[in-house]
Symmetry: C2
Subunit: 182 residues, 2 copies
């Protein structure tokens, strides 16, 4: 899965019908880094437009790279080597382009059915490109990204009339499902 990348978007995301930027959550940083390391993904991009928020995340990281965290739980530090903090989705795409020599296929995720839906089983047949999975915080990725998104992964919905997984759960399930068909 080293040609599979993930990005956690804090902007542009939806909340209450509006496009907002959401706050960075410490456990998102760790959970998705550990997921990326466990499944051997290429990198995990934390995307936030605000310099202060990116600075806060960098400060958290210093505990794991320079502070006591490295001694206390070295496994956390190893996972965080997957993490790259960027300002925009375009920066993440440019970084992958530089590593892979081509633009990644942008596979977005959503709890609801969206246009351009593809099944994970079909992704392998659709593209030999590197893959960038996009996860939205708050109420999900804003429609304004629809034009640059190549496809939306089929939603996880077991059909119980409730479908509100945390982004940590949803990302874990999407990556595990993708791993099973890759």
């Amino acid at each position: 899965m080293e040609r599979v990348y993930i990005a956690l978007l804090h902007y542009p995301v939806r909340q209450g019908g509006r496009t907002i930027s959401s706050s960075i959550t410490n456990l998102d940083i760790h959970d998705l880094a550990r997921l990326a390391a466990t499944y051997g993904l290429g990198a995990y991009y934390l995307v936030h437009p605000d310099e202060g928020m990116r600075g806060l995340a960098t400060e958290f990281l210093s505990h794991w790279f320079e502070g006591a965290g490295r001694l206390f739980k070295p496994d956390r530090t190893r996972a965080l080597e997957k993490l790259i903090i960027v300002k925009t989705l375009d920066e993440a795409i440019a970084d992958i382009k530089q590593r892979e020599g081509e633009r990644p296929y942008l596979l977005a995720t959503s709890a609801a059915l969206r246009p351009k839906t593809v099944t994970l089983e079909n992704i392998g047949k659709l593209t030999k490109k590197p893959l960038l999975l996009l996860f939205g915080t708050a109420d999900g990725i804003s429609e304004e990204l629809d034009d640059i998104i190549d496809g939306y992964a089929e939603p996880i919905d077991p059909g119980n009339g409730y479908n509100h997984l945390s982004v940590r759960s949803a990302a874990s399930i999407f990556i595990d499902r993708l791993h099973r068909v890759k």
Copy 2:
């Protein structure tokens, strides 16, 4: 999946080779409740031996059942209806016995291979009993529970030399995998 139950154990769990009790984490409460609601599980037991910790969790819940949370994000409240806070694993087992008329099959999870390993595909064939999946916080479930555990689910290990998922990720993946074979 209404005959599948989950329990998040804060005691007895391991850390640094010793058996400890771990602290309750707010996001564990929400993420696993949302997972339980999305997959239509029977209930989610939060197990902690300490009265103060259970009291703190109950206080968090009041925000969602009596406070502003219910108005702000009613979906969170609905998910938390799956949550039952108990003192011991025995209490959770007794509650399931009362609901189901029989003792559940205790299926523990671990990042490492443990005795009595079963594949999720085999669980359906092994038992028609209700199922209680056990998840350990900290470094996982203490061996002292091995005698009452009926089986350990095969670890999630994609084989990349790193296998340290958060309990939120691991629980999500186990439940999704179980859903696919149930």
